[in-house]
C-alpha cells in the first residue's frame, strides 16, 4: 500500500466521523426549538365555562338561531325554529349549525320531554389541540378552544381525535374547505359580551361564568332538588374536564353523551411522543449507534480485503518462485 492511499483512507474515515458529529449537533439544535414549539396549555384559574341545565331547557332552539346569526351564517327566520318536527331525528353539530338541540323521552313525565343543547365542550386538555398537525387549534387561557383558518391544512386529524366527535368539515368544497365548531363566541367574549346562545336563551337554561363557580352552582342545584337531578356533573372530569358542564335528570349516555374516562385524551399519545423524542436523545443515540456499526463493519471489511490481498500477493510470489524453479529444473 502506498502512503497516498493510506492518507485518503484515513481522510475518508475522518470525514465519516465529522459527518456524524455535525448531524448529531444539528438534531440536538432542532430539538431545542422543537421543545418549545409544542402547544402547552396555560389554563387560567378563573377561566370561563357554561353550565347547561337540561331540566330547564324547553327546546325552543333559539340558541341555534342566535349562534348562526352571531357567526354570520345563513339562517332562516327565528320563527321557523319553533317547528318541533326536527326532533324526530337525532342531530349533531354541523357545518351549518355549530350547536344543535335534541329531544329525548322523559321517563318521569312523558309530556315534558328532555331537550339537550350540544356543541364543542371546550375541553381543558383538548384532543383537537394536541392532535392538529400545524397547531391550528389552541386553547385560550380563558376557556375557549379556537381554530385558526390560516394554518389549517384540512387533514381532519382533529376529527379523528375529538372524543365528543365535534369538529366538522366541508366535504363538498374543493377550495378552502373549513373546519366548523363552536368557538364559545371567543370574539364576543373578548369584547366583554356573553356568548350569543347564553344571551338569547329565554329560560336561562345556560349559565355563563367562571368554571369553578359554575361547579359550585351545579352542586347547589343538585343539593336543593335531589329528586330532580342526577348527582353528577357531566364535564367536571370527562376527558380531563371540560369548560361546558351539564346537569340532567336522566343518565347522560341516554341523552346523547359518550361515556368517557377521566383521562385526558391526549395524555397517552403525548407521553409516547415525548418518550420517543425526549429532547431527541433517543433518535440521536440511534444515529450514533448505527454510525458506529457502519464504521466498524467498514473497518472490518477493509481489514478483510487487505488480508485477502496479502494472501493473494503471497500466493502470487510463491507461484512465480515455483515457475522460476520449474524453469531452472528444465
Amino acid at each position: 500500500m502506498n502512503p497516498e492511499e493510506v492518507n485518503s483512507k484515513s481522510n475518508s474515515r475522518r470525514d465519516f466521523l465529522k459527518g456524524i458529529a455535525t448531524v448529531g449537533a444539528g438534531v440536538a439544535g432542532l430539538s431545542y426549538s422543537a421543545a418549545y414549539a409544542g402547544a402547552e396549555n396555560i389554563l387560567s384559574e378563573d377561566r370561563f365555562g357554561a353550565l347547561v341545565d337540561t331540566t330547564l331547557c324547553v327546546g325552543c332552539r333559539h340558541c341555534e338561531w342566535a349562534c348562526a346569526k352571531a357567526h354570520k351564517m345563513p339562517v332562516p327566520e327565528i320563527e321557523s325554529f319553533n317547528n318541533r318536527k326536527v326532533f324526530q331525528e337525532f342531530r349533531r353539530p354541523s357545518n351549518s349549525s355549530l350547536t344543535v338541540v335534541n329531544e329525548f323521552e322523559n321517563p318521569k313525565n312523558r309530556l315534558i320531554p328532555i331537550n339537550v343543547k350540544q356543541q364543542c365542550m371546550h375541553c381543558d386538555r383538548p384532543a383537537c389541540v394536541s392532535a392538529c398537525i400545524v397547531g391550528a387549534f389552541s386553547k385560550t387561557a380563558k376557556g375557549p378552544v379556537v381554530w385558526d383558518s390560516d394554518k389549517c391544512i384540512g387533514c381532519r386529524y382533529c376529527m379523528v381525535a375529538c372524543p365528543f366527535q365535534v369538529p366538522t368539515f366541508d366535504y363538498e368544497k374543493a377550495i378552502q374547505p373549513m373546519i366548523y365548531k363552536c368557538d364559545f363566541c371567543a370574539e364576543r367574549q373578548k369584547g366583554g359580551d356573553i356568548p350569543a346562545c347564553v344571551d338569547i336563551c329565554p329560560v336561562e337554561a345556560i349559565t355563563f361564568g367562571p368554571r369553578s363557580e359554575l361547579i359550585r352552582e351545579a352542586r347547589n342545584r343538585i343539593k336543593r332538588k335531589p329528586e330532580v337531578y342526577l348527582d353528577y356533573i357531566y364535564g367536571e372530569y370527562e376527558a380531563g374536564g371540560t369548560s361546558w358542564l351539564y346537569l340532567a335528570s336522566k343518565i347522560f349516555t341516554e341523552i346523547g353523551f359518550p361515556k368517557l374516562s377521566q383521562k385526558a385524551a391526549p395524555g397517552v399519545s403525548e407521553s409516547i411522543q415525548h418518550g420517543i423524542f425526549a429532547y431527541f436523545i433517543p433518535p440521536a443515540s440511534l444515529y450514533a449507534l448505527l454510525g458506529g456499526l457502519m464504521w466498524m463493519s467498514k473497518m472490518k471489511k477493509e481489514i478483510d480485503t487487505e488480508i485477502s490481498k496479502e494472501i493473494e500477493e503471497e500466493e502470487r510470489i510463491e507461484k512465480i518462485h515455483r515457475i522460476d524453479m520449474e524453469g531452472k529444473n528444465e
Binding site: 475518508s12 470525514d15 459527518g19 456524524i20 448531524v23 422543537a34 421543545a35 414549539a37 409544542g38 402547544a39 337525532f90 349533531r92 354541523s94 384532543a127 394536541s130 392532535a131 392538529c132 398537525i133 400545524v134 397547531g135 391550528a136 389549517c152 391544512i153 384540512g154 387533514c155 381532519r156 386529524y157 376529527m159 379523528v160 381525535a161 372524543p163 365528543f164 366527535q165 369538529p167 366538522t168 368539515f169 366535504y171 363538498e172 368544497k173 374543493a174 374547505p177 359518550p258 361515556k259 368517557l260 383521562k263 385524551a265 397517552v268 399519545s269 403525548e270 409516547i272 411522543q273 420517543i276 433518535p283 440511534l286 444515529y287 448505527l290 457502519m294 463493519s297 472490518k300 471489511k301
Partner: protein
Amino acid sequence: MNNLTLNQISHNSHLPSQVKFKFFTPGVIILCLFALNGLVFLAGRFLFGIGSVTNLNNFYPWGLWIGVDVAAGVALAAGGFTSAALGHVMHKDEYHSIVRPALLTALLGYTFVACGVFVDIGRYYYIWHPLVMWNGNSALFEVGICVMIYLTVLYIEFLPLVTERFMGRVKMWGFLKIFNPILEFFLRLTDKTINKVMFIFIIAGVVLSTLHQSSLGTLMVIAGDKMHPLWQTPVLPLLFLVSAISVGFPMVIFESILASRSFKLAPEMHVLSKLGSMVGPILGIYLAFKLGDMFIRETFVYLKELTFPAIMFYSEMIIGVIVPLIMFLNKKVLQSSKLLFTASSLVIFGVLLNRINNFITAYKPPYAKVAYYPSIGELSVTIGFVAMLVLFYRACVMIFPVITQNHNHVEIAKTKSKVIL
C-alpha cells in the same frame, strides 16, 4: 480471447444495469387503464371536493386513502430501510443486489404516499405548512415532517444511479443542446461529492424510518375509546415498527420474484432465501408482542364471539402472521421460489390488513349512523396509484441501473453477446 469475453460478461452482470425489454405488454396496457380510471376520479376530487368521490363524513374523517395509500404504503415501503441497514450499515456485500431495487420501491412508495396525503388533505396547497408551523405534541406532525425528510433522503440515495447512467452521456436535442455541458458538469460534481457523504444519508434514512414507522402507530392512540380495544393499545408504535420491519424483506422478495418473472430472468434464490431466513424470527417477535399485549390487556374476551372485528383480527393474525411464520421457518420453503413468494405475499397481506384494521375496522366513532366502507371513487384512486407505481417502477428499471441481472440465464447472455457483437 474467447475466454476473456465470457469472463467480462459474467463480471459485468454482477453489477446492476438497465433492463432491456419492451415497455408495453398486455399487462402494462391494463395497468395504464387502471391508472387513467384513477386519474378521472382524482379530477373529480379536485374539482368538486373530497365528498364528491369518497364516502367520508363527519364521523369517519379518514378512510381508505389514509389507511391504505398512506399507512399501508409507508409500511410496505419499509424494504428500503431494512435492506439499507443490512447492505450498507452492516456492509453485507452479498445483499447489494437487493439494495437498489428496494431503494427504488421505497422511493416510489413514499412518493405515492406523499401523493396520497396530497389528495386526501382538504387544502392540498397548504401541504408545506407543517414545515413552518410546528406542533411537537402531534403524532401526525412527526409523521409528516419525517416522511418529508425521508423522501428527500431517498432521492439523494438515488442520485448515484443517475450519475452512473448519464455521466458522459448527456445528449439532449435541439436548442436544449446548450445545456448539455452544464448538466454534465453537475453530474460530475455530484458524482465526486456524493459518495463521500452518502453514509450520512444512509444512516439518517434508517433513523428517520424507525421514527415515523413507529409514530404512525401513535396516530390512532389519541382516538382513545373510539378505537376497538383489540387494536387500541399504548404499545401501538412498537407493534407498527416491528411489523414494518417484518414486512421489509418479504416485500423485497415478492418484488424481486415478480420482476424476474416479468423480465424473464432467473430469480436470485441464493440471496432471497437468505433474506427469507431472517423473516421468521422477526415475525416471531411481532407475534410475541401482539399476544403479550392481548393477554396483558385481556382483550381476548372480544375474540370469543365471531363479530366482524374479531373475524378481521383472526384473519390478520392467522393468515398474515402465524401461517407465514411457520412457512418461513421451514427450509423447504426457503429454497423454493414459489413457496417463498407465497409466504412473502401472506406477510404483505397481513400487514396491509393490519393497517386497514387499525385505521378503518377498529375506528368506531360515536354517533355514526352507518359504518364506513370505501366508495368506488376511493377504490379507483387507490388502485390507480398502485398501477402508476408499478408502471413507474418498470420505466425506472429500464432507464436506470437498478436490477442485477443473473448471468446464468441463457436469454440474457444472448442479448449481452449481441450487444458486444
